[in-house]
């Protein structure tokens, strides 16, 4: 900045003089078009990543059977909150805020109140995430990840999508290998290594109807592990979960 105050007319003449000498030039339209195109690309990229992430969050909730865990009451809620993809959700919130900020550069973006725009973005993300989760996309990518065909970071993302209830919370996931009266034998997935299982006997509580369960079904069990046996309090079907990679048909 100048230290000397320019007289208004001088100021205008100075600028005109610079224009005439080509010291001041117009930035070409192409530059602005390219910049706008780059901006649109960034907006679209953020939108695509955000939609993908929202559908992936819904998928991980489905793949971990978290919705059915809620039916187990407080213990189920505890595991639900433990398994919830907090990291991805935080990243998604960050992307939504970034998208909202980017959209405010457009006229339609700053003409509407922030809450409406944010609500609109969240609504679009949720609906599109829900719709994409209903397509076979994530299940297909999960199979690719199981076969180690998915490059990082997607491979790691999908390999960690199926999360088992953590030990010590009284909730187990396994596959029925035999049914005898009120006793089940299940192949309990090892939380530390999902490619290995342990055969465990499950004592079904009196009154619990298990007629709809059959060998090969996957079930969530709420109960206590005593002397290598699970004293079940409640059982829920988990056949909707994507099969683990070690189970035939899961590949």
């Amino acid at each position: 900045m100048n230290n000397k105050q320019p007289i208004p007319q001088d100021k205008i003449q100075n600028i005109l003089e610079k224009i005439r000498k080509n010291e001041l030039t117009l930035t070409p339209k192409t530059y602005f078009r390219l910049r706008f195109a780059a901006f649109i690309l960034v907006v679209v990229a953020v939108l695509v990543v955000s939609v993908f992430l929202s559908s992936f969050i819904l998928f991980t909730i489905r793949a971990s059977g978290q919705a059915s865990l809620i039916g187990f009451g407080p213990a189920g809620w505890q595991v639900f909150l433990f398994l919830f993809p907090w990291g991805l959700s935080t990243l998604e919130i960050g992307l939504i805020i970034l998208l909202q900020y980017l959209l405010r550069s457009f006229k339609f973006g700053y003409k509407v109140p922030v809450l409406y725009l944010l609500g609109g973005v969240i609504f679009v993300m949720s609906v599109s995430g829900f719709v994409i989760d209903k397509t076979p996309l994530h299940d297909m990518l999960l199979r690719q990840a199981d076969q180690k065909h998915l490059p990082p970071p997607f491979g790691n993302l999908y390999e960690n999508a199926r999360r088992l209830p953590p030990p010590g919370h009284g909730i187990f996931l396994g596959t029925i290998t035999s049914i005898e009266g009120d006793t089940l034998v299940i192949a309990l997935l090892n939380p530390m290594d999902t490619s290995t299982t342990t055969a465990v006997t499950v004592m079904v509580p009196s009154g619990q109807i298990i007629v709809q369960e059959k060998v090969g079904d996957r079930i969530f069990i709420q109960g206590k592990m005593i002397d290598g046996k699970i004293q079940a309090q409640d059982i829920k079907n988990a056949n909707d979960l994507p099969p683990p990679p070690s189970i035939p048909g899961g590949m």
Binding site: M1, K11, I12, I15, L16, I19, L24, L26, K29, P113
Partner: protein, 191 residues
């Protein structure tokens, strides 16, 4: 300098974009005093204001190909000037003028009655100059743009890039604040 008064700002911009760069002098003549007056509401040092106005003109010229001639040139150049003055103010005060703004979060109803507006403008102009410094920066900028620069809510909305309803609310708050300031000073708003 302005020997083509019949041409609108936007038509002049079209000529400049078409290669007649000399016409930029017309736009500078039209906006020089307006922008300097606008700057005085942000900054006290005249020297600083003139420097910033010069920078605004240079920046506007360099970026004139980015201006969409279907929009209002005044809103566009005021937007550039606004950002430049706010930055100048930040440097001067070393405090943030902009930040999280709850007013922009929800929708507000707007209503502009021309007859009431005209009378309101006269009263406010007299009052504003005396109480402006006591207003919050957010209220101050809309009061300046609306009452001193004579811009509509829609134009202010484009300059500040906030919803029109938010502009209306800030104008209302600014007026209320000024009333309170003058009440304290035993001055009548209607005088």
């Amino acid at each position: 300098m302005d020997d083509l008064p019949s041409l609108t700002d936007e038509q002049i911009v079209l000529l400049i974009q078409g290669g007649d760069k000399e016409k930029y002098g017309l736009l500078m003549t039209r906006y020089d005093k307006k922008l300097s007056r606008y700057g005085r509401k942000f900054l006290s040092e005249k020297e600083n204001i003139e420097d910033i106005v010069q920078d605004v003109f240079i920046s506007a010229f360099q970026n004139i190909n980015n201006f969409d001639t279907s929009l209002k040139f005044s809103s566009w150049i005021y937007r550039i000037a606004h950002n430049a003055f706010v930055n100048g103010l930040k440097r001067q005060q070393r405090s943030a003028v902009l930040g999280l703004d709850l007013d922009t979060f929800v929708s507000h109803m707007t209503y502009e009655d021309p007859a009431v507006e005209e009378r309101d403008h006269e009263i406010m102009k007299k009052m504003i100059d005396q109480g402006l410094e006591k207003l919050t920066p957010k209220c101050r900028e809309v009061i300046i743009l609306h009452y001193l620069e004579g811009l509509s809510y829609k134009e202010i909305s484009d300059i500040l890039q906030i919803p029109t309803g938010t502009v209306a609310v800030r104008v209302l708050r600014g007026k209320d604040a000024l009333r309170k300031i003058y009440k304290k000073m035993n001055m009548d708003y209607e005088q």
